[in-house]
């Protein structure tokens, strides 16, 4: 039987209270959905002096369509991403990552903010958000600031939030991606309900027969979820085609640093990543032609 460590428990009733607590308490962990934190406390990874349960902050549960972007409150659950029709229609990559995320019970608890702040290299929502060039909004007593998702992950379990900052919103610009074709895929040990061995999202825009822009992001293959910049750079300006996509996908190896763990050896991860990227580029290209992200 697992035992949780002893800690002081706080349950702020609104955002201001939460920020004040965060500012005041030194060694505190934020409890959102709990699907990572409770397990990490059970296994002894974290032994915080204080736990701040932000589950009561109703003001952080929303999805708003601005016409340019989706603004998603940090406490929106993964299942809510699955169930909101605008997530499916405006940000299909994020929707696909959400439906492939663990299983129903966990999706009902886990939040988008928690998935990002936990900063697992395998964070499921990260590859789509990296492709959309999402921005996260952090709040503290001294105000708000916006952090591009590409600058958010610093290492495993490490993000660029200050000690008294709380992630409050994820902004997902979709308008700029309307002329792109895009695709997402995740490889786990089983078809679903599993941590990824590698997952990837891709988007491509073609203009006058040439690749005008390409975005590729992966998880579980580096200390943080990453953009495959070498792949992207190679593609831009080239004529799209199977050979080009295959050559591009080989460059994944210079963008990642896979490790061997219980789920897969590093060699397999890298190979799977290259195959995934090649497939996703081709699929994105097809979809770009059919007009839309599907």
């Amino acid at each position: 039987m697992y035992r949780l460590p002893e800690y002081d428990y706080y349950k702020p009733g609104n955002l201001e209270e939460a920020l004040k607590l965060l500012d005041k308490l030194g060694d505190a962990r934020i409890l959102a959905g709990g699907t990572d934190l409770i397990l990490d406390m059970k296994t002894g990874r974290y032994k915080p002096r204080s736990v701040i349960d932000i589950g009561g902050l109703k003001e952080l549960k929303y999805i708003i369509d601005t016409g340019e972007a989706l603004r998603i409150g940090a406490l929106t659950t993964i299942q809510e991403l699955v169930d909101f029709p605008i997530v499916h229609s405006k940000t299909p990559l994020l929707w696909e990552a959400a439906i492939r995320f663990a299983y129903w019970q966990i999706r009902n608890m886990a939040t988008i903010g928690g998935n990002l702040c936990n900063a697992s290299p395998a964070a499921d929502t990260a590859p789509p958000l990296l492709v959309y060039n999402a921005v996260v909004k952090a709040a503290s007593l001294s105000g708000e600031r916006y952090i591009p998702i590409g600058d958010f992950f610093l290492g495993p379990r490490h993000v660029s939030l200050g000690r008294s900052e709380l992630l409050v919103e994820v902004i997902v610009p979709y308008k700029s991606l309307e002329k792109y074709g895009s695709a997402y895929a995740k490889i786990g040990r089983r078809r679903g309900h599993d941590i990824s061995v590698v997952a990837a999202a891709a988007a491509i825009r073609v203009e006058d027969g040439l690749i005008a822009d390409a975005r590729v992001a992966l998880n579980s293959i580096a200390p943080t979820p990453v953009r495959a910049r070498s792949v992207e750079k190679y593609l831009v300006g080239r004529r799209p085609g199977i050979e080009v996509f295959r050559e591009a996908s080989k460059l994944v190896s210079s963008d990642v640093s896979p490790i061997t763990d219980v789920r897969a050896p590093a060699e397999y991860r890298l190979h799977a990543a290259m195959v995934l990227v090649e497939d996703l580029l081709l699929e994105s290209y097809k979809r770009a032609f059919r007009g839309g992200q599907e």
Binding site: G34, I38, Q105, M109
Partner: protein, 154 residues
């Protein structure tokens, strides 16, 4: 710390430690033994309960998190017609072996039926991902899908 919530339609108040999971409060303080302690890591689904109507794993929740909320276990659905029908299909299909995973699966399936999530067998597979270690899942999936199509037919 004192926590109050609704358990199967009745208000309960119980003293808990901040580090106490809902699973342990339900089993050891409130004596709800249908909620099973399985993996305790949110993987198997045996400890599933409904929180405000949504299935969640009670091993991954602190009891303090459910303050003021509605918790439902199979005991709370005994008189529910849809639930009775679901149980009948489980019996008809023989979708039960040792029974350890059954309460969690019934709750998950009931919530899925209630929310109209099962349009195909694949939907059942996607949404009822609880683990059963006795046998295959075919009879379980069939029983749930029968209940879903039966519901749709009415």
């Amino acid at each position: 710390m004192r926590v109050e919530f609704i358990l199967n339609g009745r208000k309960v108040a119980v003293d808990v430690e901040p580090s106490e999971t809902l699973l342990n409060t339900l089993r050891f303080k409130l004596r709800v033994k249908s909620v099973k302690r399985g993996c305790e890591r949110g993987e198997c689904g045996s400890c599933t309960i409904l929180l405000d109507g949504q299935p969640v794993t009670s091993c991954m929740l602190l009891t303090l998190q459910v303050e003021g909320r509605e918790v439902t276990t199979v005991e709370g659905l005994e008189k529910d017609d849809l639930f009775k029908k679901l149980v009948d299909y489980f019996i008809e299909e023989g979708a039960i072996q040792c029974g350890f995973c059954t309460p969690g699966i019934l709750l998950t399936a009931w919530a899925g039926l209630k929310q109209g999530r099962f349009k195909s067998v694949d939907d059942v597979r996607e949404y009822v991902a609880n683990l059963c270690r006795c046998t295959g899942y075919v009879k379980i999936i069939n029983a749930i899908y029968k209940a879903a199509t039966g519901v749709a037919g009415r």
